[in-house]
Amino acid sequence: MTITAAETPVPAAAGRTPVHPAVRRRMLKKRFTLVGLLIPGGAWLALFFVAPILTLVILSLSTGNVGLGWHLTYTWSNFTQSITSYKAEFLHSFEFGTAATVVALLVSYPAAYWIAFYGGQKKTTYLLIVLLPFYVSQLIRTISWQFILADQGIFLGPLKALHLMPQNFHILATPWAVIGGLTYAQIPYMLLPIFAALERIDRSFIEASKDLYATKWETVRRVVLPLSTPGIFAGVLLVFISATGDYVNEVILGGTGTGVIGNIINSQFFVNMNYPFAAALSLVLMVALLIIVIVYSKSLGTEDLMGGGTY
């Protein structure tokens, strides 16, 4: 995109008058500058994205063991085995990821809305309050939930003492604990983009909507919500991808029957040292996420949303 934009003046100028050498030099320089600007980012992508992915692909098609090394033998069985052996874990990951995304959206949107429209002078303070817990390591925060939600902990303990719930009731070691942990961990990533989108909305649109006799709810539904979709889109993307790949919450808050694919990948790498299988699992997860994201983007029409210039 940027390169074509830079090229356009050249033929346009050439069409009218022969280009003066000095001008041509300047244009070449401009083009080199643009290419030069792309180099750091491009090199970064090549080094830390393309190269690892290629390595992962090669590894996933290899056989061997840690001692003797891995050989590229174009063995596809890792991929078929990934899906047949770990269907349940893949499904758990997507279920937990989806649930966490939905809950995070339902929680974050009203909060972001309130901060953006009613936060007044204290907006930054409120945002800071949202972000404050995230200055603490995620591991520590998740382990704190272990204490808060413990069977005899500060939350369930008193309720059980008052016989308001059965003695064997527990939240930890259930899917709900995992979804809760994921949601909690992801809320800022949902809230901030939505807040940014809401903040950008021209307040005169809202006034106009009122002038046109829209009720408060209609204004939200037909003006604010559509204008904030870029924020929702970004938030959902951020949260869904990281919540689906997360396994820390499952390890700490889950129990039997809540296994997720991230955990399987981890143990294939570090316990079994079966690097090809772990690589294949990672790629399957990546491709599945990619497909979901593409379908999601198409259905939300991101071309317009990401352009940002629709209003």
Binding site: V66, L68, F147, H170, L172, N266, S267, F270, V271
Partner: protein, 432 residues
């Protein structure tokens, strides 16, 4: 220094809520490694290593990394030793706010070898993931001595020739003072590559308030009475303990025994008895009352009782037997200072040194005759120090007798092929 650490320990036990527990048990139970608990923090860093390893290795053909042309005959003392160990796994003291290691200082004084002591091992597999690329490439790992638990990682290190064979002419103390139970262990006949650092037990930990009584048998792990309140560890220890319950010696077990153990575990799981297969933090779960009883490392229980007020957990060696493991000193291939490493290996088998270390670590020491020095230290001190040291000298968990070992079993060696079979049997239970 013995006095310093002893004083420190007794101070702790005086202020700790465990006074009603047998002090011998308390002292004997120490296994102050963070081992399985450090797991999550490490995973990320290890992952990079593993990927880098995978990158570097895809073109390697076969490994001939046996240390190349290394020979003990021509090896010379370098005056430096790079030692990789687990956290809190050696005698230590605080002097002017700095941590010092008295037995290491003594070693430097005696031999002139400076020890670069690093507490970098938090898990066998993750540490192996870090050093494996260098070993495969035939390069130095940067360590001359490391401590690895018997099991799949150690088996692989030996199989691929990634350890330096020991020259026992450097190890007179080992020949003279090592206990019979650490000489020529099943996983390393003739101590060709390894010498024991310390050993320990995996048994049952429980919260007596929730179990409503003492636990003595592994059967309690399968008791429907504790449905939803039983913790199992997602580690090799668990299947081994289950096999012991089934009357199988895990050291001699094979796939058919493993399947039988898996069937029992699957049954236990589908009946809802298992709360969770813990990768870490089962101690918190015991303390918080999420579980009443769990497969447990003896020292974790000890540490929990020491570090949190009001905790009163118990560890028991089950009547059916107990799973035993040994952490081993070994010299990685391509070590830059092997003579310094083997000199140190010999040094820790000096009973006086072993006693000082045992007084701090409270593990199962590989040097039975160090007991005399512990008693000597006890007689030189007074009051509770004396009582604590005497109790420790009597503890079957620090100085086990031959009878105590009769029901302590090692796990199978598990070469990579067997380990894959093992994992294919047990991981589906741990993970879903």
């Amino acid at each position: 220094m013995g006095k310093g650490t002893v004083a420190q320990m007794t101070d702790k036990s005086e202020s700790n809520p465990l006074e009603n527990m047998d002090p011998a048990i308390i002292r004997g139970l120490a296994m102050p490694r963070m081992t399985r608990r450090g797991f999550l923090g490490l995973a990320g860093a290890g992952m990079l290593g593993a990927i880098a390893a995978a990158c570097g290795s895809s073109s390697t053909s076969t490994s001939t990394a046996t240390g190349g042309s290394f020979s003990w005959a021509t090896a010379k003392k370098a005056g430096v030793l790079d030692f990789a160990n687990w956290p809190l796994y050696i005698d230590q003291n605080t002097v002017n706010g700095k941590t010092v290691y008295p037995t290491l200082q003594q070693f430097t004084k005696e031999t002139g070898i400076k020890v670069n002591y690093q507490e970098v091992i938090q898990g066998n597999s993750s540490f192996f993931g870090k050093i494996e690329p260098e070993l495969k490439a035939g390069k130095s790992t940067g360590y001359d001595l490391m401590v690895i638990t018997d099991g799949p990682v150690l088996t692989q290190l030996m199989m691929y020739g990634w350890l330096t064979p020991l020259d026992h002419s450097y190890l007179p103390n080992f020949a003279k003072y090592a206990g019979a139970n650490v000489k020529s262990p099943s996983y390393d006949p003739g101590n060709k590559y390894t010498l024991a650092w310390q050993s320990g037990f995996t048994g049952i930990g429980y919260n007596p308030e929730l179990t409503g009584g003492d636990i003595t048998s592994l059967a309690s792990l399968f008791d429907p009475k504790f449905a939803g309140k039983v913790g199992m560890l997602a580690a090799v220890d668990t299947p081994n303990l289950v096999m012991i319950y089934q009357g199988v010696d895990p050291n001699k077990s094979g796939p058919s025994d493993w399947k039988k153990a898996a069937a029992l575990m699957q049954d236990q799981k589908s009946k809802g008895i298992v709360r969770k297969y813990y990768q870490q933090n089962y101690i918190n779960a015991l303390e918080n009352g999420d579980i009443a009883i769990s497969v447990a490392y003896s020292g974790d229980i000890y540490q929990a009782n020491q570090s949190s007020k009001g905790a009163n957990l118990k560890f028991v060696v089950p009547s059916e037997g107990v799973f035993r493991w040994t952490d081993n000193m070994c010299i990685p291939a391509h070590s830059l200072h092997p003579v310094d490493a083997i000199t140190y290996m010999n040094y820790v088998y000096n009973p006086r040194v072993a006693a000082t270390m045992a007084e701090y670590i409270d593990y199962m020491t590989p040097v039975p005759s160090s007991k005399n020095y512990v008693i000597q230290d006890a007689n030189a001190s007074s009051g509770s120090n004396k009582a604590g040291l005497l109790a420790m000298a009597d503890s079957p968990l620090v100085y086990p007798t031959a009878a105590d070992f009769a029901h302590a079993y090692y796990g199978p060696a598990l070469d990579p092929t067997a380990y894959q079979t093992w994992n294919s049997i047990f991981q589906p239970i741990f993970q879903s």
